[in-house]
Structures are given as structure tokens and as C-alpha cells.
């Protein structure tokens, strides 16, 4: 059986998805009104959402596990075996970060990117020498080699030219929005091999990955999550593992249960514990809200000019404030204030060392808004 964790050509990545899974976030539902949390049907035994708590970290780690590193490593090895030279568009959702940042143990020599983009400078001589190495190379995070400014693209252009001319095996990965910019502007992109990207996950794949080890009660029906739940998950995530996992985590609630007021006081619902007794549910009592009912972050508060900064965050994934200010044309103070607001709206989040990245839950809205406002993405 084909593993869902594999690489496919960028242009064919939606071929195996259903039409509803392939659909990207619709800008009008984001701009004209976010979805509201749903209510259960009449007679719904599910406790009101306000009465449910967050699932503890340990159970969350079991119920929403990280992507399987062994499977991702196998995918990378298979890619190198069939394609000696490969440029990978790494998803924004962080689902392949660990696998692609740490390929050294798999064999290639890793050329780490600089902490900050080299402004006004070309590649250091040391990097030129390493690019001359005939052994297998891997260059992670090519977006760290540039900043969108006329003084910030020289090093990136040199890297791309060297990779295009290189005879030995190599792999490299780049952020999707950065690649969309590169392929439309820089002539050096024409010398690169066809681009690969991780295959999106279908609803069946999500079920086998995130499906619970034991029965979970689902809001509104009291049954374990079924095919419809995972189809809804795949639709909202458009097959992106990191987005799907973030949505899944947001759908899980602690299963403290209670007896409806009109039921007999000594007849607890399905043997559930009365939260007034302070009992806490086990895995069997984790409630799952339908993914189609979840309210995701919206870009509605953003004005047209604000999108320049949001696009800069998408372009430079995991960049620091100075880089984002330069790339967007914002003053640093202004950019910092807007980034704080974007963080409060769930569109971006802080990474390590003062870096800023897109938040997985906000990715559907960010992508649909930037797409419709003429910021070029890889989907075109």
C-alpha cells in the first residue's frame, strides 16, 4: 500500500484529492463572515462547550501525534533514490520541518543557511567551496538566503545558479510563497529540476494517522469520529498535515460529562461521571467537535496595505522583524505593532529567537486572502 508520506511533483499534488479536499479556502467566507461555532441538535447529550475543558498535554500528544518521522525519512530516501537532484517546496504548516531540517543522518552534507539574510553581499567563499563538493548535498530553507529587497537577492541568485549548474546529487527545500516569487522573477530558476512537494493527505490518510486509538465520543452523536468527520477535516485542511493536526487538536475537548437537568438524577448518561463530583474523563470521554464547525482565524481585520507585511511573513517564513520590515516596506515599529495584532488574531505566531511564522490554523485564511488579492502563490 502506498504510503501517504511521499513526495510528488508540485503541479500534480492535488491529483489524488477529492474536489472538496482540493478546494482552497474561499475568500468570501473569510471576508464576509467567519463560521460560528455550531450548536448540537435537540436532545444532544453533548455537554455545552462552555462546560468542556482542554485536553491535557499528555493525552493530546497521544490523540494528535506528530507526523511519523520514520515514514517521512523513508519518503526522503525514496526521493533521493529516484531523483538525484531535487528541489522541494516545504509546506508552511511545519509538518515536514523536523524531517527536512535534520537530514544529515540520512547521508547528505548539509549546508545550513545563515541566521539572517546576507544583505548587500554574495555567498561566502566557504559556501562556494562546499557547493563544489561532489558528494550529496542538502540545502534546507533556501528562503533564509534572501530578503525581498534589491540588496538582498544576490546570494540567493548565486545559490540557484550554482545548484542549476551542479552535476553532483543535491536536494534543497524552499518555502512555497518564496518559490512562487522565485519562479516568476529570477531567471536562475529555469535551470532547476522539476519541483517536488510532500503529497497532501486524503481523509483516509488522516484517519489512519490521527484516528484515535480508542473510542472517542463525538459532539452531536455520541459515536466515535467517523468517515464524515475525517472528510470534513480533510476539506478544511486541504490535505495539509500540519493544518489538519492543528484543527484536530482544536476539536478535542476534555470529556467531563454531566446529567441533563431533565434526566433522572440517579441515571447518569452512559455511565459518565458527574463533573460536580470532580471526576475527570479518560480517553474514552474526549469529545470531538466536528471540524466543519470550528471557527478558524480570519484575515477580515486586515486592510490592503497590511497584506504586504503578511505576504512578507509568508515569503520569508521564520524571519526576524528587521527582515520583515525590509521586505514589506514597513517601519520596524509599525511592523512590530501589526505583527502583534496578527498574532492576537491567530494568523501568525512567534518562533524561536524572535522569528515570526504563519500559524497553522490561520493558513487557510491567509492563503485564500493572499491568492485573491493577487499575491502569487504556488497554486496557480
Amino acid at each position: 500500500m502506498r504510503s501517504p508520506w511521499r513526495f510528488v511533483p508540485l503541479g500534480a499534488r492535488y491529483d489524488d484529492l477529492r474536489a472538496s479536499e482540493r478546494r482552497r479556502g474561499r475568500w468570501w467566507s473569510d471576508l464576509l463572515g467567519a463560521r460560528r461555532p455550531g450548536r448540537g441538535p435537540r436532545g444532544d447529550p453533548t455537554p455545552a462547550e462552555a462546560r468542556l475543558g482542554a485536553v491535557d498535554r499528555e493525552r493530546l500528544g497521544r490523540l494528535a501525534p506528530a507526523p511519523p518521522r520514520a515514514a517521512q525519512r523513508a519518503a526522503y530516501d525514496a526521493l533521493r533514490a529516484r531523483t538525484p537532484q531535487a528541489l522541494i517546496v516545504r509546506p508552511d504548516d511545519g509538518s515536514w520541518n523536523v524531517a527536512l531540517d535534520d537530514v544529515g543522518p540520512y547521508g547528505p552534507t548539509v549546508i545550513d543557511p545563515p541566521d539572517d539574510p546576507p544583505l548587500g553581499r554574495d555567498l561566502p567563499d566557504a559556501v562556494h567551496e562546499r557547493l563544489d563538493d561532489p558528494r550529496a548535498l542538502h540545502l534546507p530553507r533556501l528562503e533564509r538566503w534572501w530578503v525581498r529587497h534589491h540588496d538582498g537577492i544576490r546570494a540567493l541568485r548565486t545559490v540557484l545558479a550554482r545548484l542549476g549548474a551542479r552535476r553532483g546529487p543535491w536536494t534543497a527545500d524552499v518555502a512555497p510563497w518564496a518559490w512562487a516569487w522565485i519562479v516568476r522573477t529570477l531567471p536562475e530558476a529555469r535551470g532547476l529540476p522539476p519541483v517536488q512537494t510532500p503529497a497532501p493527505l486524503r481523509s483516509e490518510d488522516l484517519r489512519s494517522w490521527l484516528g484515535p486509538p480508542g473510542p472517542l465520543r463525538m459532539r452531536g452523536s455520541g459515536t466515535p469520529p467517523d468517515d464524515a468527520t475525517f472528510r470534513a477535516l480533510a476539506d478544511r485542511a486541504s490535505g495539509e498535515p500540519g493544518v489538519a493536526r492543528a484543527i484536530w487538536r482544536a476539536c478535542l475537548h476534555d470529556g467531563a460529562e454531566w446529567t441533563p437537568p431533565d434526566a433522572a438524577p440517579d441515571a447518569p448518561l452512559d455511565g459518565a461521571a458527574d463533573p460536580r463530583d470532580g471526576a475527570v474523563g479518560d480517553d474514552a470521554a474526549v469529545w470531538v467537535r466536528s471540524p466543519s464547525r470550528l471557527t478558524l482565524p480570519s484575515t477580515r481585520p486586515l486592510k490592503h496595505r497590511d497584506l504586504l507585511l503578511l505576504h512578507a511573513v509568508a515569503l520569508h517564513r521564520d524571519a526576524r522583524l528587521a527582515t520583515l520590515a525590509l521586505a514589506s516596506g514597513f517601519e520596524p515599529d509599525e511592523a512590530a505593532a501589526l505583527l502583534r495584532r496578527m498574532g492576537a488574531w491567530g494568523l501568525v505566531r512567534d518562533g524561536e529567537e524572535g522569528r515570526v511564522r504563519l500559524a497553522p490554523l490561520g493558513l487557510p485564511a491567509v492563503r485564500s486572502r493572499l491568492d485573491v488579492e493577487a499575491f502569487a502563490g504556488v497554486d496557480e
Binding site: W28, H150, D151, L308, E373, A374, E380
Partner: protein, 281 residues
């Protein structure tokens, strides 16, 4: 039968005319036309530029349809013409139009032609004579254009018969912005051209899905570089051009290239257009 009697014969008996209903319909038509203009404009500010352009283009057609509906309702309830009286009325009206209302009626006719042929639409950026700006509304008699200096200029549709109309975006979301830089002739043109191309590529306002071109030519007072590129949407043309000029000059200073001042010409006279050919200047 004289003209005055013929006029009275055309109009229905006063007791047969539903005045209140007519006033109500006129008021309703006015409110509907106003509502369409204001409502679509407000909605257009909330949606992406590509959708806004299509939305605003529908406004003049909607207003025309409302006007026609009101006329079709009101006229038969006021006028009961006989063929003979109609001939007399048309003759009298023709004289009135010919002497007093020629230009007004000409603009009305041009307005209908403009709505159907669409040399300009709401949301388009056009140049008529010395005025360049965004078409804010397309009425039956005239259009309103908001210039880059935030002036509102009312231009009768009658200019359709006499003037050239340059439309920079013609219903599209964006338009080409042409940015000029003049340099002293003694420099490496290839290096400057490559640098300006990088300046354009790295503008945050650039629509990278459209082509970027840097055109070079020699003018008597220096080497002229034209950066031809498209911003994300037409309204971005001002910050886009400002960004190109600001960073272009910074990039060229680093190359130690000298700028020249443009020699005064007829184009600099007061009242001349402040933006040259194409969509911008």
C-alpha cells in the same frame, strides 16, 4: 389644432393621473438608483480588487435599467397621445432640443452609448484632456473622476464625440505603471538596467504574475530608463511608483551613477498633464 391645444390633448385628464403613485415611483426610483450606487461602492471596498472592478461596472447598467423602468411606468400614466398630436409634440420638442438642450441631450445620448460601448467604466483609470483619475461614477449625463490629487472632476459624456479617451486598465484589476529615471549618459547601461530590474522585482507592491520591463533610450538631456511594471491593483500605482523611485535612486547611487535634471519643455507648462503617456508617470 394649434400646438398648445395639441399638448393638452396629449396629457391625460387630471382626474385620471395617479399623482401620488407617480411621485412614489419617482421617489422609489431615485432611492433605488442611489442605493445601487452607494451600496455597490461600499461593498466594493470590502472585496478584493478583481471583484470590485466587476461589481462597479454593473452600477451604470443597473441605474439605466431603473431609469427606464420609471419612465416606462410614468409616461403612459401621464400621456395619452394620438398619432396627430405626437407629430406636433415631436416637432415642438425638436425645436427646443435643437436650440436650448442640444448639449444636454447630446450628453444623454453619449451616456447611453458609453454604457453600452464601455469606453470607460466605474473603477477604470482614464485620461480625458488634462484630467487623469479613477472613474467614481457613471451617470446618464456625465462621469465623475477622482484625480490623484483627490479632486473630483465632472466630465460630460459629450466628450465622447470630440476628445480622445485613454483607459489605463479597461476593466482589469491592475494597470501598467511607467516610472522614468534620467541619468547622465556616461555609465554602464547594462548594469543599470539589471539593477533597476531587481528594484522592480523586489517591490512589495509588484504583481509578479505580470511582466516587468526596463526600457532604455537616449534623450537629448540624458539616458532615460523606463520601468514598466504592474502593481497588485490599480489603486496601488502611487505607492508603487514612489517605491520604485525611492529604491531605484538608492540602488543607482550605490553604482555611483549621476542623475540629470530634465530640461524644461512645453510639457512642464501650467495646466499640462502631470502624468505622461500610459497608465501613470
Amino acid at each position: 389644432m394649434n400646438g398648445a391645444e395639441g399638448l393638452l390633448d396629449v396629457v391625460r385628464d387630471v382626474s385620471e393621473i395617479p399623482f401620488l403613485r407617480i411621485v412614489a415611483v419617482l421617489l422609489l426610483g431615485f432611492l433605488a438608483a442611489r442605493g445601487v450606487s452607494v451600496g455597490f461602492a461600499r461593498l466594493g471596498e470590502r472585496v478584493p480588487a478583481a471583484v470590485r472592478v466587476r461589481l462597479l461596472q454593473a452600477v451604470p447598467l443597473a441605474r439605466l435599467a431603473i431609469a427606464l423602468a420609471v419612465i416606462v411606468y410614468v409616461v403612459p400614466r401621464v400621456v395619452a397621445p394620438t398619432p396627430q398630436n405626437l407629430i406636433a409634440i415631436v416637432g415642438a420638442a425638436g425645436i427646443a432640443i435643437g436650440f436650448a438642450l442640444k448639449d444636454y441631450v447630446g450628453s444623454l445620448v453619449a451616456g447611453v452609448v458609453a454604457i453600452t460601448e464601455a469606453p470607460y467604466r466605474q473603477g477604470d483609470w482614464i485620461r480625458i484632456g488634462s484630467h487623469y483619475g479613477e472613474v467614481r461614477s457613471v451617470g446618464l449625463r456625465a462621469i465623475e473622476v477622482v484625480t490623484l490629487d483627490d479632486d473630483v472632476v465632472t466630465i460630460p459624456h459629450g466628450v465622447l464625440w470630440t476628445d480622445d479617451i485613454a483607459n489605463a486598465n479597461d476593466g482589469a484589476r491592475t494597470l501598467m505603471v511607467v516610472t522614468d529615471l534620467w541619468l547622465a549618459p556616461d555609465h554602464d547601461a547594462g548594469a543599470v538596467r539589471r539593477r533597476l530590474q531587481e528594484v522592480a522585482w523586489t517591490s512589495p507592491w509588484l504583481d509578479v504574475r505580470r511582466p516587468v520591463a526596463v526600457v532604455v533610450r537616449e534623450d537629448p538631456w540624458g539616458t532615460r530608463y523606463q520601468i514598466k511594471a504592474y502593481p497588485l491593483e490599480a489603486r496601488d500605482q502611487v505607492p508603487f511608483r514612489s517605491d520604485l523611485v525611492t529604491r531605484g535612486k538608492a540602488a543607482l547611487r550605490a553604482l555611483e551613477v549621476r542623475f540629470v535634471e530634465r530640461r524644461p519643455s512645453a510639457a512642464d507648462a501650467p495646466g499640462a498633464p502631470d502624468a505622461p503617456s500610459g497608465g501613470a508617470g
